[in-house]
């Protein structure tokens, strides 16, 4: 309890430091590139937007993951669980195959939101929906969408490479407008989820429990799902579906600070941002701009297995 504030302050300092340092790291080494007309452009127009976009996307995925895990009372839930990733992938694939790669972010966003809306409308038909129904519907819709984009990959010919790279996720095309867009989404949605922290706490013990504790469980659930969907859909449209950030970050945060979501949500913003900025810097600096999803999964998966066995995360 008493160490919550110091840890949060340290994380804030670490986040600022990470963003600043990583802006000055690139394939050309550390420091401001040699003076010249291009130097300011590299920092201001390419690296800074990319670092900021990575920070906000990482933060978005991490808080959406924390919220989904609490809502579904399942530490193994991830932000894509309701079909956003598969929906985004389908939208992006359509744009790549039919439009030659224009409007990929727009189509990805639309695909992610459509997937969620389909899940909601199927699962919501009977009034009160148990979260388990929502979860299973999400998994089914994900599989259906992945069948569709796999079909597009199969017939895409030379575009298949582009789709597969998109699926693995990365920030090659990050522009200043991406950084601004992701910031514009995470501020309201982050505040929403932060102030829903106690609702998430109660919901993580069960919807009936939440209702007995005076929480408007139905309204809280839709607010949490709505906010998370916005965050994840925008993240997917900017960077594709980057895995493991949304799943692992909340676990790291809970190990440090405990499971109280009023702390987990703000801490996940910082931790998710730091982890994705570091991963992206690693990807573009040492691995000739590999998709960052490869890095996060390569490090995240073994780490997660270690976590499961060390901490008994799984019930």
């Amino acid at each position: 309890m008493t160490r919550t504030i110091p840890i949060l302050l340290c994380m804030t300092a670490a986040a600022i430091l990470t963003v600043v340092l990583c802006t000055f790291i690139g394939p050309a080494g550390f420091g401001i590139p040699a003076a010249g007309p291009g130097a300011a452009d590299i920092i201001g127009a390419i690296r800074l937007p990319r670092v900021l976009a990575a920070f906000f996307v990482g933060a978005s995925l991490a808080i959406a993951g924390a919220a989904m895990q609490a809502l579904f009372r399942n530490p193994l839930a991830d932000p894509y669980i309701l079909g956003t990733s598969a929906g985004g992938a389908l939208g992006a694939s359509i744009a790549i195959v039919l439009l030659g790669g224009f409007f990929v972010p727009v189509f990805a966003w639309v695909g992610a939101v459509v997937a969620i809306l389909i899940v909601w409308s199927i699962a919501g038909r009977q009034g009160v929906i148990p979260v388990e129904t929502l979860l299973l519907t999400g998994i089914a819709v994900s599989f259906f969408f992945s069948a569709l984009y796999s079909f597009l990959i199969a017939i895409a010919g030379q575009n298949a490479h582009q789709i597969i790279f998109w699926l693995m996720g990365g920030f090659w095309n990050a522009s200043p407008s991406d950084a601004i867009l992701s910031a514009a989404v995470i501020v309201p949605c982050g505040l929403l989820l932060f102030f829903m922290g106690r609702d998430l706490n109660a919901l993580s013990l069960g919807e009936e429990t939440a209702a007995h504790l005076g929480i408007d469980a139905a309204k809280a659930r839709w607010a949490v799902l709505g906010g998370s969907t916005m965050l994840v859909a925008v993240a997917v449209s900017i960077a594709g579906s980057i895995g493991f950030i949304g799943l692992v970050t909340p676990h790291i945060v809970r190990m440090l600070l405990g499971p109280d979501n009023r702390v987990v949500i703000p801490a996940s913003i910082l931790a998710g941002g730091i982890i994705l900025v570091l991963s992206d810097t690693l990807a573009r600096t040492f691995f000739s701009d590999l998709p960052v999803g490869i890095i996060t999964a390569f490090i995240g998966a073994p780490f997660f297995i270690w976590l499961i066995y060390q901490r008994g995360v799984v019930t």
Partner: protein
Amino acid sequence: MTGRHSINAENLNAGYDTRDIVRAVSCSFGEGTFTGIIGPNGSGKTTLLKAFSRVIPSSGILELDGKAVAEYTPAELGMALGYVPQDEGRPFSYTVLQVVLMARYARTSRFAALAPADFTRCHRALEETGIAHLKDRSIRTLSGGEWQRVLIARALAQDTRILLLDEPTSHLDLSHQSDILSLMRSLAASGSTIIGVFHDLNMAALYCDRLIMIRNGEVVADDTPARVLTPDKIRDVYGADVVTSLHPATGRTFLMPLDTCGQTIAPDKNRNILVISGGGSGTDLLHFLSRKGYLLSAGILATTDTDYLTAKALDIPCIAVLPFSQIPAHSLEKLRTLLIRADRIVLSAHPVGTGNLPALLALREADPARIIVHLPEGHTFQSCDFAKGAAAAAYSDLCSAGAQCTGSFNGILGQLKKNTNNDQPPKE
């Protein structure tokens, strides 16, 4: 109407999907009462409780403190009513205190932190349930009983006038059961309305003022424990045979299931047995022989005798006399009639003084070959004698006259299966 009704339900129907599990329930609960809801598995007890707390939709009239439940905001409901579930999933490692503090959410703005008063209240709830020492433990490391007390503490910390408890003591050991239920009773005494679902009927009878018995979602009895917990109603609703009595120490109704396992059909011979016992010596024997299918009668028993209560509970006809008095002549006459009618007489060695000596002496008139004397190991005729040697002599005389003496129930059974020379052929 004197006390206000905290909960008033009229013609309440509730269930999952389209199937009603609770049907046409009408009942109300006043302030300062502790009511138990009982009924067999699947009878709708929990559903009724959840209908009261609005987590299951219901139709009909349902009012809390005179206001329709539907008109409450979620937060108002969280301040009016606390609920202790049977169990709750524990996917995350909250500390005990964190879980109990959630009780205060309903009273706090989402934009504010919990106040020191909230912490004080929660610490008190932890004290009241005896888990203050666990406050910083992760809930995932708690035993079932400790977790159940956390859930109770959280409901207490909600500071509500109404508490709904779904089998609140199912995971608790005996001392914690009585601690928690005493706490509930004292809350009721100070004006709270407590409603609990119970499987343990004796605990319900001990602590509740009123029991509501339900079957298939309908109320079948709603009265004091003594009037609800009758053997007839229990057999009817639970399909179990029980004996009930007032407990001598608590004065409350208590009940025991009857061991009807191993019940065998009536044997084909020596079916009518007269058991002579006293001072509790015949209790087990009467149960044993009754279970073996014999048609029993008993005598001569004082109405304060445990054997008498057993005979009444098992519906065994018996010759009863007032305690501490001489056996009246007409009772001895009845005994003589039974001695002649019975196929066999089982005499359980029991304390005999001058008061009941005449009954023992009357046995001399019966055919000794039809008498079986049960003298449990460790007992002697002398230890049963409170008539200056006359009783011991009477016992010994019977044995030397030809009565069979045995120390075990199986020995009695063996004797009952034998024929004697004097047995008449069975009548057609």
